[in-house]
Symmetry: C2
Subunit: 218 residues, 2 copies
């Protein structure tokens, strides 16, 4: 026995849900997945529980585990909450941020810029995430930072799509500049508003994308 297969399985299942192998409403068959992963049902059931807590899976008693992808409405709601959480982080961070953290923000932003010019979207995502994560941390509120990071992670697969809009990357970079300036100046309300808009626009773009896909299908 190695150790903690259940965790590993939870991650793999998460990946399978994100990449679309399983989609909304699919029932996750315990026995089938068990032999597929080469384990017994026990660790799989543990993995289900873990996924249920992060919201990816719904556990219905006596019925099984069902994939639960958020619909457009729920997604918009989540983006709205994300925007507010980021705004709070920004407001607190503007007062509490350290010089060193500011330096790291500049670094992350510079690498973001480089990634945009190199058309390296993976690099862009990574550095963008670092940028936001620094702000969460610098809120000085660890609980808040964790909650923000949790939701950020959950929205990750949807944020990617929205960035395919023409010119969105450049616009996003400009917004980052404004955010940094607000943090440097320590103007908390401005930092909050700028961050809120920065995230809210992602929700908006996503909404537009959904609408476009829908009308294209008709």
């Amino acid at each position: 026995m190695e150790q903690r297969r259940a965790d590993n399985i939870a991650e793999q299942l998460e990946e399978l849900i994100f990449n679309g192998t399983f989609s909304d409403g699919d029932r996750l068959d315990e026995v089938r997945l068990a032999e597929q992963f080469g384990v017994s049902r026990t660790p799989l059931r543990e993995a289900f529980q873990r996924l249920a807590l992060s919201g990816l899976v719904e556990l219905i008693p006596r019925r099984g585990a069902f994939v639960r992808q958020p619909g457009p409405v729920e997604l918009m709601e989540m983006f709205e909450v994300m925007a507010e959480l980021e705004a709070v982080c920004g407001r607190l961070a503007a007062l509490r941020i350290t010089d060193q953290a500011l330096e790291e923000l500049r670094d992350a932003n510079a690498k973001c810029q480089a990634a945009v010019e190199a058309r390296d979207s993976d690099e862009y995502y990574a550095e963008n995430e670092r940028f936001h994560r620094i702000i969460y941390q610098q809120s000085g509120n660890n609980f808040l930072a964790q909650e923000a990071a949790k939701l950020h992670k959950r929205l990750k697969p949807f944020r990617r799509q929205q960035l395919r809009f023409r010119g969105r990357m450049a616009q996003s970079m400009a917004e980052h500049e404004h955010i940094m300036r607000a943090l440097e100046m320590g103007t908390s309300d401005l930092a909050a508003d700028t961050l809120r808009d920065h995230v809210a626009v992602q929700g908006e773009k996503f909404h537009q994308l959904m609408a476009a896909l829908k009308s294209a299908a008709e």
Copy 2:
């Protein structure tokens, strides 16, 4: 076999942690609890997972399940986040609240007032919770409402203590009045600020209480 013992056990354990039977750092012994509840280890482990997700228990691989009560610092952080979440709910609710919901708020508030006069703290807690829950709902953002309710529930046992401050109940009632007025008028920023302060002061009071207890112990 009845059905879903695991859920039941999770609830009971939650209660045991809240009422102080288990306190911070305690290890939850699988076998001991299993025979205590008259079940096998399997449903217990499921219950642990569920408690871990709500943050009451920390699961350390190969070590076991440990009770994880938030310390003073984390508690303050949680109250800060709660204050901000309520503020957001208030800001949105001020724009979206229905007349019927306003009526229900008035009703909950009146019953709160009656409970204060009757010195019925249980009733007060119940109606106070209803008051806040209505605001969560009226934010029009279901995801937000759920998150707010989740954190509200988690802070419940700590909120109770803080209300023992002299005159806190009356002050809280006055704050409720202000909140309602802001919601009636539809002034979202005012509603947000009033709610934020209303919750933040709870954190403050709690802080004072902790300090008082600490200095009394010296």
